[in-house]
């Protein structure tokens, strides 16, 4: 099917750009140096491509992502990089250990006890390296590791996500701050032990000397937020819409708040300025003043790829304007 015949709004993946990104990252961080984060795409078909590129370990944000990856045969080494205390979900992941290798992040006695009670076997100690979110203080990491080992858990090491440093305009300054954050993680690691120091993301993937693995995810598809950085990854994901209304000043396409992650602001359209988004609409104006016609297609670059993916049921793979495949976004929800 030609891309102009897809029902809209249509989430599309530009195959050459996607393949470029997969290749560029697997060259920079081969094999287990990258632990791709599936929260960025929520798609096991896409994860299969990452696995085929040599990345057999994956990062997940939710138990549903973990269980979906196991069901897809991608359970070689799954890290739930998030704290969970729901006994039912922990037990479901515990049961999945029959056919998968699962490690969960913990940052408190409560999360350790919940993991142990559910029968999970492996944990990482999640350490606060500056992002005010999850993670214990550095000084507590060793004590929590002791508590986990006393509870019968294997402690594989530490993780510390420097999310506050993903987009720092000056690269040298960014490197300096990442290095400082990773010194904190290394201090915690010295007290914790284990083989793993997991950190990083798309914005800092090439700034790590200490971490043993990087949790990047957005690199595969990209968005206008990460495009501000001078990264070697190309925009590979677009939401394609149909112009349904127009006048001399602006045009309106059928892509709105229910098709776009909006926390990073408005999406962008090449050659146009975006005025605003409504539930099912994007209002925009062509820069050259020649507004598109009703029925024309328009391609929108999401400002934040992760929540955008979670809003769509399917992604269309497009090469040379032909939709050559259709991937379910099968890890949505909780």
């Amino acid at each position: 099917m030609n891309v102009r015949d897809l029902p809209t709004p249509a989430l599309i993946i530009d195959v050459p750009a996607f393949e470029h990104n997969i290749d560029a990252m697997s060259t920079a961080l081969p094999g287990r140096r990258l632990r791709p984060h599936v929260k960025a795409h929520k798609c096991t078909a896409l994860a299969c491509v990452q696995a085929a590129a040599g990345h057999l370990g994956f990062t997940c944000a939710t138990p549903r992502e973990v269980l979906g990856m196991v069901a897809a045969g991608l359970g070689d080494d799954l890290l739930l990089a998030n704290e969970v205390i729901d006994p039912a979900r922990l037990r479901a992941m515990s049961a999945a250990q029959e056919s998968a290798n699962i490690t969960v992040a913990v940052d408190s006695r409560e999360t350790i006890d919940a993991a142990a009670s559910a029968g999970l076997r492996q944990v990482l100690i999640d350490v606060d390296v500056g992002l005010p979110r999850c993670g214990c203080v550095v000084a507590d990491a060793g004590h929590l590791a002791d508590h986990a080992r006393n509870a019968g858990l294997e402690v594989r090491g530490v993780m510390g996500y420097e999310g506050h440093l993903m987009v720092v305009p000056d690269r040298a300054e960014q490197r300096r701050q990442v290095t400082a954050a990773m010194e904190q993680l290394a201090t915690a690691h010295a007290d914790v032990g284990g083989d793993i120091m997991s950190a990083g993301g798309t914005g800092t993937y090439d700034l790590h000397d200490v971490a043993t693995e990087i949790q990047a995810g957005s690199y595969a598809l990209m968005d206008s937020y990460y495009a501000k950085l001078d990264l070697p990854f190309r925009q590979a994901c677009f939401v394609v819409g149909t112009v349904v209304s127009r006048n001399e000043r602006h045009a309106v396409a059928d892509i709105g708040l229910k098709a776009l992650g909006m926390d990073h602001g408005n999406p962008t359209i090449d050659g146009a300025s975006v005025w605003f988004c409504s539930d099912e609409h994007i209002t925009f104006a062509a820069t050259d003043g020649r507004q598109p016609a009703v029925g024309d297609r328009v391609s929108v670059v999401p400002a934040h790829i992760d929540p955008t993916m979670a809003m769509h049921e399917v992604a269309w793979l497009v090469r040379d304007d032909e939709a050559i495949d259709r991937w379910p976004i099968d890890l949505r929800g909780w």
Copy 2:
């Protein structure tokens, strides 16, 4: 099930507040004076309550909403208040006319021709009353009505959504601007004819003297954006999460960007300040400095109800902390 045992993030509807809102609106705008907008909730079970309250006509934003309402037996008088030119979707709605009464908005010759070609029978002329989105200019409305009638369509009247006036801080000023917008719609109506002048929303539901029906939707569940106005509707929808991490300064719950419409900014938590949201987390600090414990529940008020509803598979109905029913959000997607 007690609300504290629901898997989180859980979208909940507070039944007494919801019932209050339904009653308050059906008292103010009884029967067909209100044409509830289903885009605000995307839930046929909720629409059934609105129908039981006397509102038998509904407003939809997508063909999927129209077809889902027909399948649910709620096809008495459905208005697609949006322009669509996709022939397959128009034909699907045309086929549904066997068992439903469907009217679609049009604002151009292209959308009129597409509707007629697909076999649809009834249209409203969508008029620009100041919101830069869809809608023809006032002077074109009569010509478009002629074109529609020449194409064999019944023209039921006009619609004009004054979305730019939903949240004007000063009520007197808001009324003045709504009146001016509706004068435009009345001018168009004089050229178009038909019985319907459809307009309005939750923020202006009580400011209309000219429109024959009001398209409000958010009133049923509300959000922190509409809460800024002094409306007689109560907050009836919350996203409940579990605290998964905490320290002396802040706490983190499992409600993030994939569970919250973010285009109106951060959600709110009673008694806390919200710092930021990540994909699966909300970081917040209790105002009194006593951060909740790991495992505690937290209740979040969405900033924008419409996209929030579209992110969830189900809503739990809660009365006295008991989940008494479970409604599928069955009109999601396109």
